[in-house]
Amino acid sequence: MEGYTSSEMMVVAAARLLRDGEVVFVGIGQPNLACNLARRRHAPNLNLIYEAGIIGAQPARLPLSIGDPCLVSGAAAVCSMYEIFAFYLQNGRIDVGFLGGAQIDRYGNINATVIGDYAKPRVRLPGSGGAAEIAAWAHRVLLLTPHQPRRFPERCDFITAAGYLRGRHERQAAGLRGDGPVAVVTDLGILAPDDSGELVLIALHPGATLEQARANTGWPLRAAPDLRTTEPPTAEELRLLREELDPQRIYLKG
């Protein structure tokens, strides 16, 4: 790639999926960068909500934890954890939720709990945190993760947070809200669900190939008929990321 890293491309691509005026449930790391980049660019009225119970955050520095004190100072409101999950997420007040995860499967389900069997796991991961509720109750969900075969299995070992389960109809039948995981932004491109809820490739970042994306996906990845190429990051997007949002490049390496 020329003049920017794949992390920068991921963050920029994710930022462009946010619309002005939306209420976004923000995660730490790259999702935080994407939301704050969008707020400084095309979405100045983006309402940033953090799991710790912070509404309308305007962080003056890069938060390294989800409850960082910089998120509180200058925020519009602070509420309890019960309220952030019940009044905001469960009650349908969140437009967009951002999630990552160790595994994302063919139907956009997320595993952040165990690799292998739950009782005798090969790898124990941190667990749900708020992921189960964000995935189930935000009106749409954006996923950010590097494109690697072990991260994109045909089926998750454990569903920590529901995408379309085994197909779009199952998500509806389970009584979950919203459109589910509408986009998965990786370092190679963007995946989105088709009518059945299966993730297909809808965009490739500059320099990435369909073969690369297929080689790094655990199911036979299909390309959308109108497969497009992502616009590379602009000079202004890169300047904001590098000079203002993550000057120490904590989340922009590689």
Binding site: L64, V72, S73, V78, M81, G130, W137, I159, G175
Partner: protein, 305 residues
């Protein structure tokens, strides 16, 4: 009446000795903010055993308590080192079968506390479609008697003791918290006993000048402990910053053989109290964690005398 008032102010050593017993279910509250590390260290020093440790995010405080052999079970909803990686003592104890786990999502965990605080046997939640109910039989379902919708339920959590750190309280225990308020109030009301550690003990007039900021009133509190810097390496909004370098260093320290044991020896067993711990951290750490003030504007409650 305030007959219960004056005997609540005590040292942390006394509060832990009186109110935390072997086998207790303990909830050390605080979501990233105000995590009561000083109390955790005192529990380790007093060598409590067979505790059931409940917290949404076990954080380093439970990693340390598990490493010290205080716990038999962990109830949690996100078991990592925030922003860094994993909790090695917890993981090792789980893998070796020494530590039982009971796992939830954040909302389920906090809903358990809220049910406990409200005197209900359980509370319902909308379904989330995930696999946790498959592996944790504490998740059940109930049919809504009004809509017929199937709802997920979790049982009340009523800890034997909740430990809360706060910016300030009066000597009676009227406790004020600002910044991230997490699950402190729910934990306090759900628990049978409540220990609060505070950065400052202030006159009752200060508390009563701003009653909306009081999260927990005095009669809920069992012990009030004046313990500045009790949240380090977590933080206290407006008093000192989160020690992010410490959270990063914990990852390396616990990766070294014997690293955890050396830490506990030097920083927990090796110091008698939080004051010594804070002095031992030294001026460079103090300077790094200092925060510039940003005061809120006062509000007018009106006078009626």
């Amino acid at each position: 009446m305030s007959s219960y008032a004056s005997n609540k102010l005590m040292t942390l050593r006394e509060a832990i000795a009186r109110f935390v017993h072997d086998g207790d279910t303990v909830y050390c509250a605080g979501f990233t903010h105000l995590i009561p590390f000083a109390a955790g260290h005192e529990i380790i020093r007093q060598r409590r055993r067979d505790l059931v440790l409940a917290r949404a995010t076990p954080d380093l405080i439970y990693d340390q308590m598990v490493a010290a052999g205080c716990a038999r079970k962990l109830i949690f909803s996100w078991g990592g080192n925030p922003g860094v990686g994993m909790l090695r003592a917890v993981r090792t104890a789980v893998e070796s079968g020494r530590l039982e786990i009971e796992e939830y999502s954040h909302f389920a965990m906090i809903t358990r506390l809220t049910a406990g605080a409200a005197g209900l046997p359980f509370l319902p939640m909308r379904p989330t479609g995930n696999d946790l109910p498959r592996v944790n039989p504490q998740y059940r379902t109930v049919r809504c008697p009004y809509t017929g919708m199937d709802l997920t339920t979790v049982p009340a959590l009523n800890p034997d003791v909740a430990i809360i750190h706060a910016q300030r309280a009066d000597a009676q225990g009227n406790t004020q918290i600002w910044g991230v308020i997490g699950e402190q109030r729910e934990a306090a009301f759900a628990a049978k006993r409540v220990i609060v550690t505070v950065e400052e003990i202030v006159p009752s007039e200060v508390i009563r000048s701003d009653p909306n900021r009081t999260l927990i009133p005095d009669f809920i509190i069992s012990a009030v402990v004046h313990e500045p810097y009790a949240a380090h390496p977590s933080y206290t909004q407006g008093y000192y910053d989160r020690d992010n370098p410490f959270y990063l260093a914990w990852d390396q320290l616990t990766a070294e053989p014997g690293g955890l044991e050396r830490y506990l020896e030097e920083w927990v067993y090796g110091v008698p109290d939080r004051r010594t711990y804070w002095e031992k951290l030294g001026p460079e750490v103090h300077a790094r964690l200092a925060v510039q003030p940003a005061y809120s504007q006062p509000v007018n409650y009106g006078r009626f005398d």
